[in-house]
Amino acid sequence: MKDTSKENNYNLQFPSDLDYIPAMRQFIAEVARSEGYSTKFCFRTEIIVDELCTNAILHGSKGRNGCVILEAYFNNDIMKLCVKDGGGKKVNIENLKRAVYNSKPTADDTRGRGMDIVQMLADELKIDLDENGNTQVNIVKKRNMDDDEPILKPAENQNEGTEI
């Protein structure tokens, strides 16, 4: 496993446009991989980033020059993500909190499952306003040692020559 003894911060600011989401989720997954996290962790992180950024774009930063801020923090044990958007109105926050804590989509609903999935995949989820009035969603996801890929050891006698 790579040395991940340092704490690392990544900060991204990108336009409020759905076209950017595939690159963003791939970026964070790749960063998690470089920080020594497992493939399963990276894939789950990718889903979280996708959902949070899609929400920020569709329901948050809607102005012509709207942007979304994605902050990521990694250390040996946890990853923290924070997604901020400019939709910091009380009504937006209330809607988001309702989506997370109260409403459950019915079988026929085509939308509204994103935040449930995020809640399921993350260890902590918190929604509030930052000091500049932006909506911010904070996620904490802990490294699960069980997820880590086993280190492949050569099978017994595998490298030994065949006895003639």
Binding site: Y10, P15, L18, Y20, M24, Q26, F27, E30, V31, L58
Partner: protein
Amino acid sequence: MKISREISSVDEKIVLCQLEGDLDISGCNELDAELSSILEAGKFFVMAIMEKVTDISSPFIGKLIECRQQLINKGGNLVIVGLPPDLKKGMLLMGIDKIFSFYNDAHLAYNRFHWDYVETAHPLKLTFPPKLECVPAVRLLISGIAKQKGYSAKDSFRIETIADEIANNAIEHGDATQTEIGLEFYIDRNRIELSIKNKTHLDKADNLKYIINSNKRSSVDEKTFGRGLAMVKLISNSINVAVDNTGTYVKVTKTKEKD
């Protein structure tokens, strides 16, 4: 059926045309009249807002296609916004998405409009730790955006190479005390601009300028290093280096190649 229209408050070039109720053959003449008024007003970009549409018939779809064609002939377009999912499903089955662009909300349609017609550059800012392990993620981010925004595989690969080289340089030759690397990326339909800022010792910055301006390798590491920037220069359209008290700033521009 009910039609109303207004000039967009976001961009006065765009007309928001609100359609409500059942859109059937009886509404075709009304749509025709609306379009004539829109064209007379010199507006050629229309967003058909269909959130409150309950049904849509094939003659009306035909009329919408005709309207779109008239607008395209004038250099404009007609896009569909907020169509309820069940109706959208039907239209997708008919293959109408090959003709119209569908958007879930007006914000996404504005984004596309500004990208296609206003040609505003989209900015992206990134700070990352000065670790070489971060570079693959950074270069994949840059090439991923380029691909998503319609740049060819060749252009995307080249911009990825540029990002890789200048990010590696910023980390390897930067000051050991630097805590982060700053990257700025601007993309529009025809051009990509990539800038990297880091903390460097002034003597290294002078060496960097020498390599770029003279087209020669560094005199310091002549045998092992010095090809990266030459390659960046070769595959980019311009490369500039600026040095001040806050750090070294490398800016590379790459224009989109014709297919």
